[in-house]
Symmetry: C2
Subunit: 767 residues, 2 copies
């Protein structure tokens, strides 16, 4: 046997390199164990590639194979005859568009209901509407004339007729904290009990899934329901979290659900293209930003890789528009506008000297963004490695209590984040009233202090919250932190201008300090952009999202400067954004998009050479008859890899076989005939023709494998993996197998430098 | 000899397939003849790949080689010791950023001056300023109080004191036509005499260059100067053309010039990344749209392919911002706003029923866009194949006369296009006065007729103008056509509403027809977007450009619907946009981004098999001594291909050699020693070691060639060429060469279906 089936300690060599990753790899390769497939035919045929392999959660799809399967499926549909042949292609594409349309409408309505629910639950912590329990404060007070005071909305102390200041303060704070805890705890209980995958933002997983990771459980119906409901509870609880990332997850779950409802049964590559489009819809609804959604799909989800496939961009475009129209139609805010945080009163132009505070904000965004990423990663690893992990609900309850208590003390933390941001983006305007003293020109220093303090507290709270067992997005907290800091910078600049209106640097402004020359609201927008840039490291899509979020089109240049600057500074302090860091911590097989430059290495430096590989040796001349079918069966049972290279005499490469195909074929055979296991087998068609008594396995063999020479530059290999979405590459020289590189090797190569890579990889997440 | 150097009729087989393309290929491969290169070392080394090949115009670069050269260069800079080693990397990247900054500032200022020049020259056709010849009408009349009539700007008949109506009309029209002809003719003379590459838009060539085509003459200093000056003259002449595309060309020329000034001496791949960034700056200035510029670079110039290289996006971002800031600082319109065609007075929301006219406009955009593309291609081919080609200046003069005469009769054609568009985008507002009767509510049918007639005439004029020997962009004419049709549709809808205010379909509007419910200006924006979508087939970047151009952020959804719809309809009528059609007509080696799906073919269907290839046979066992150095030299002189596969006995693949390297090496040798030509040679290192008397050419050999098996699906090969930017792929099986596919084969495969592919390919354009 030893001559026929060589086995060498590839796995062991991996383990010594990185324990977690080796486990992941072993897992990755092992766990397609229960796969089944549909077609199994004897004989070689062009449709050989098209057999559908069902991947299990935790494995990585083979894009080449899946694309081939998709082409084959399309061809089969088009080749049908008669009436069926005429209608099948139409029905096929109609179903896809039905899924797109339904998902778009669904996520638009879900987003609208989420907003309504959050606003009502959030307001409930402060008081209630006299004439109806289910009205939020805005709906309760609508229909009043200008200047009229709203009597219908009562705080709890008013409602319970408690007039003493101490009593009312105590009651208000007590209800505030208790309701916050109740909301957060119920979200957490729902997540822990019914859908553990509904926690966190979901974007890292979606990114990994779209790039080829298989994780169907993450997209299930329960996850959809719990994530949507839990998200509303979590956001209303006042924790430092947002709804944006989770909405992307909800949108993807919805697309998956609809694809099941319409019996689309998509191939794995088709499914991923659908998910990429659905993710655009999520962003479109979360920010009211249809174009930002499309660009988010392109930039952040790396669907640049599909850019040749105009389908993906198309569907993203259409689904984003439908989702935004649905949201606008549902009109949760009663404004029939998409723009969430309309910037108003900001002067249409900006002055050259304002680039100085903008650059400072950009640098701050980069530094604090990196800090937040590192803090968050540290907390996540701490949680993972201590007994906190055993008590997720308790952690949520405790931390919500801390958050609520701290937030209640500081007015800018107590209000809902979205309300705070909307007001920070606004210019002070005598007609609109003062927002908690923000516009008081005599209290500049108090306001600056309060804003910076709020930002500081929010950083700490967010670093802990993002990763608890509760649905939580990072966008809104980041925007809040940035808007606080930006507004503080704006107030500072305004204060300086008012103090020294004649200074040379303010020469672009009139020397009269009572004139509105500096708009602190605009600084808040810039600060938010810079902080988002520092945390997510997005660029173009971020700028578009900020536009569509604020309508501040005339300030495109400062916003671009802020985003570019913060990414620059942030990249200098740590190369990747928060999503990439989480992906790396969880060891998902995903290649970060950041540039890789080799230092003159060739592929040989990363390649596993033949003597360390498990290969199937089909050398019938050397030991004819010794390699029996039984031995082959035992071999594939024993080695859990995704597949094996097949070689003949002298390591000459014949092709590559997928383990599951061989297993299923041999299983099929042994049910038909028992005595087959003592016969001989071959993968080489020529050998099979010469020896008709051999079991001909050549139909299982994939001859069209991608081969390189090991002398190619490492960068070329990296580029090929990234751009072609490869699963593995074989290396050969003069027809002889010299080695193999898998996606896992690439992931290791490209993510090893990130902080805490693999620190959170849990086998149960990959089942 | 026949045994050593096999030659088979590859070229002939190609010619039978497509004459023009075969010529192009022969040309493409032939014309690196006079290449030279810097390093030539004996001995095999890792830096072998890094030798700089200087490509001649008309060839295609080898991206893999150039990327390797770039890496090698970076490494060499970093490996320097001492003070030089510390500063060299800084100086290296500083120079790149200097080029970026200078190009950004340069194109911003150039764009501003262009605007000033065009406005003045254009106004000169109507009259002059009393107190200064060099003032345009706006500058001349500035400083007046509201309501005051401008006396300082006089028409020519006023200036020459001609009071009779007939006389003044004749004089005005005569001067208008004569000056138009003079301006266009001078532009044409400049182009024909000094810089023939300065004609047309330049975007097709830029696209081809960025994807790897070598065409340095297109980026020369003279081209820069003539294109900028000629563009101002051409635009001012009132021909149906815009400045947008040519500005992209000017920007790229500028970047190339600055890279020479700063002695950057970039590698070919680095140069292309720089050009991609510069192109963004061009768009940024042309539309006042920095973000649109970045996205244009990403979408239209296919720099998606570089998306992993964050450098490119970065530089695009920075250069766009710098260019826009420079433009804003130079402030040609005195508004210190970037927004060119500010939409004002448009209501912030739109109604559901308006989607019906929007969809009609989208369909019209797609149909008329396709029509315009086909008309334009037909005219271009007609011009190319008739004697018109010999008289380019005469053609310009004649056609300008026709344009001026026709335009003078119709008021909406007579005014400058940019002024017309700005007014079509505006809402009617009693405070701003009526623009040539456009706002007269009693003249709806007259206006609709005039607008549709103008659009029709513009389509015909544009189809002819785009391609004459004069710098000409297609964006502005397209916007004009679309805006006319859109405004007409808006007027129609408004008219219907006023006639039937109580109709069910208008239920979203108040039943009072005097209320402003429908905004015709908004329809003009939608029409322009739809027409742009139909002509260019851009998507995301187009929507962003329209936003930044108009500031109509609240109408993102209808604009997206229009762009998506027109692309859909357009793609159904003809797959590619106007730039792709021109690239295909000129047979540039460029792969269109549109999706390709094979019908089950494998690579074998397109591969040139070994028996049709010219290969170098290094079979020393078969005929030792017979293959002499002299014979090899003669062989490489005789065959003009870019390179040759090297095989040994039985077609076993050894590697690939570049023809120019062999030629240069052998030339070098023969200057050193005369008797070498009778000696034997080998590319195989092992053979060289065994036979020290053989000339060892193994250092010239590239062993790390990309190989595939011919059984791989055709789509995979197409994807590899597109995504990896390959020049050729070898096919092998069990170490034996089976065939070759080049980029030219791919171009043929992907563009053969386009109308009039290759119809304009002229050898002189590739010299």
């Amino acid at each position: 046997m030893a001559q026929v089936l060589r086995q060498l300690p590839w796995l062991n060599s991996l383990t010594s390199r990185n324990g977690d990753l080796a486990a992941a790899e072993a897992f990755d390769l092992n766990d397609s164990r229960s796969s089944s497939f549909e077609l199994l035919e004897h004989g070689r045929s062009a449709s050989k590639l098209a057999e559908r392999v069902h991947y299990k959660d935790g494995s990585t799809i083979d894009w080449q194979r899946e694309e081939a399967a998709e082409r084959e499926r399309k061809r089969a549909i088009h080749d049908q005859r008669g009436v069926r042949g005429a209608f099948a292609p139409i029905w096929d594409s109609t179903r896809i568009w039905l899924v797109i349309i339904c998902t778009g409408i669904g996520i638009g309505i879900a987003g609208a209901w989420l907003d309504v629910l959050v606003r009502w639950l959030g307001d409930l912590r402060e008081g209630r509407c006299v004439y109806g329990f289910f009205y939020n404060s805005v709906a309760c007070c609508s229909g009043l004339d200008a200047g009229e005071v709203c009597q219908e909305w009562q705080t709890w102390s008013q409602y319970f007729h408690i007039s003493s200041i101490l009593g009312s303060s105590l009651l208000q704070s007590w209800i505030y904290i208790a309701l916050s805890i109740a909301l957060a705890a119920s979200a957490s209980v729902l997540v822990v009990t019914y859908a553990p995958y509904a926690f966190h933002t979901g974007i890292p997983e979606i990114k990994a899934i779209i790039s080829g990771y298989v994780f169907d459980a993450f997209l299930g119906g329960w996850t959809l329901l719990i994530k949507a409901v839990g998200l509303a509870l979590a956001v209303a609880s006042g924790l430092s979290l947002g709804k944006e990332g989770p909405l992307v997850h909800v949108s993807c779950c919805m697309a998956y659900l609809f694809s099941k409802i319409f019996r689309l049964n998509p191939t794995e590559s088709q499914k991923r293209k659908l998910l990429a489009a659905a993710a655009s819809a999520g962003v479109s609804v979360a920010f009211g930003s249809p174009l930002g959604g499309v660009l988010f799909g392109l930039e952040e989800l790396d669907t640049f890789a599909f850019s040749n496939e105009s389908d993906v961009m198309w569907r993203g475009f259409v689904i984003s528009v439908i989702a935004a129209v649905s949201l606008q139609y549902a009109d949760p805010f009663g404004t029939s506008k998409l723009v969430l945080f309309q910037v108003s009163g900001v002067s249409d132009t900006w002055k050259g000297f304002e680039l100085i505070p903008v650059c400072i904000l950009a640098a701050m965004g980069g530094v604090i963004g990196s800090l937040l990423i590192r803090l968050n990663a540290t907390v996540a690893v701490y949680r993972h490695n201590t007994s906190l992990r055993e008590w997720p609900i308790l952690e949520v309850v405790g931390f919500t209590a801390v958050t609520a208590a701290v937030s209640y003390l500081i007015i800018f933390c107590r209000v809902q984040s979205s309300e705070l941001v909307a007001n920070l983006f606004q210019e002070c305007d005598s007609s609109r009233g003062d927002y908690h003293g923000l516009c008081n020109p005599t209290a500049i220093w108090r306001n600056i202090f309060l804003l910076v303090l709020s930002a500081f507290i929010k950083v700490l709270l967010t670093a802990w919250t993002f990763g608890m067992m509760i649905p939580a997005g990072i966008f809104l907290p980041t925007i809040t932190i940035g808007a606080c800091l930006g507004r503080a910078m704006g107030l500072l600049t305004q204060g300086l201008y008012r103090a020294y209106p004649d200074a040379w640097i303010f020469s672009a402004c009139p020397p009269d300090p009572t004139v509105q020359c500096i708009s602190p609201g605009f600084y808040a927008v810039v600060g938010a952009s810079a902080m988002l840039g520092g945390v997510t490291r997005m660029t173009v899509s971020l700028v578009v999202i900020v536009f569509e979020l604020t309508g501040a089109l005339s300030h495109v240049l400062p916003i671009m400067v802020a985003v570019v600057g913060s990414k620059w500074v942030g990249d200098a302090l740590g190369k990747e954004g928060i999503y990439s860091v989480w992906i790396a911590m969880r060891s998902y097989p995903w290649l970060p998009p950041s540039e890789f430059r080799d230092q003159g290495q060739t592929a040989a430096s990363i390649m596993k050479s033949t003597d360390r590989l498990v290969v199937i040796c089909d050398d019938k001349e050397a030991d004819s008859g010794e390699g029996t079918v039984g031995a082959l069966k035992e071999f594939v049972e024993r080695h859990g890899y995704h597949g094996f290279p097949v070689v003949t005499k002298g390591n000459a490469l014949v092709g590559f076989v997928i383990r599951d195909k061989v297993r299923a074929y041999l299983d099929l055979l042994s049910t038909e005939a028992d005595d087959v296991s003592h016969g001989s087998w071959t993968f080489v068609a020529a050998t099979a023709r010469q020896n008709p008594e051999f079991l001909d396995l050549s139909s299982l063999l994939d001859e069209a494998v991608l081969q390189l020479r090991k002398e190619v530059p490492l960068q070329l290999v990296v580029d090929m993996f990234k751009k072609m979405n490869l699963r593995h590459v074989l290396f050969s020289h003069a027809g002889k197998l010299t080695g193999l590189v898998t996606k896992t090797d690439m992931v290791w190569l490209l993510t090893a430098h990130l902080p805490r890579t693999g620190a959170l990889s849990e086998p149960h997440h990959r089942r």
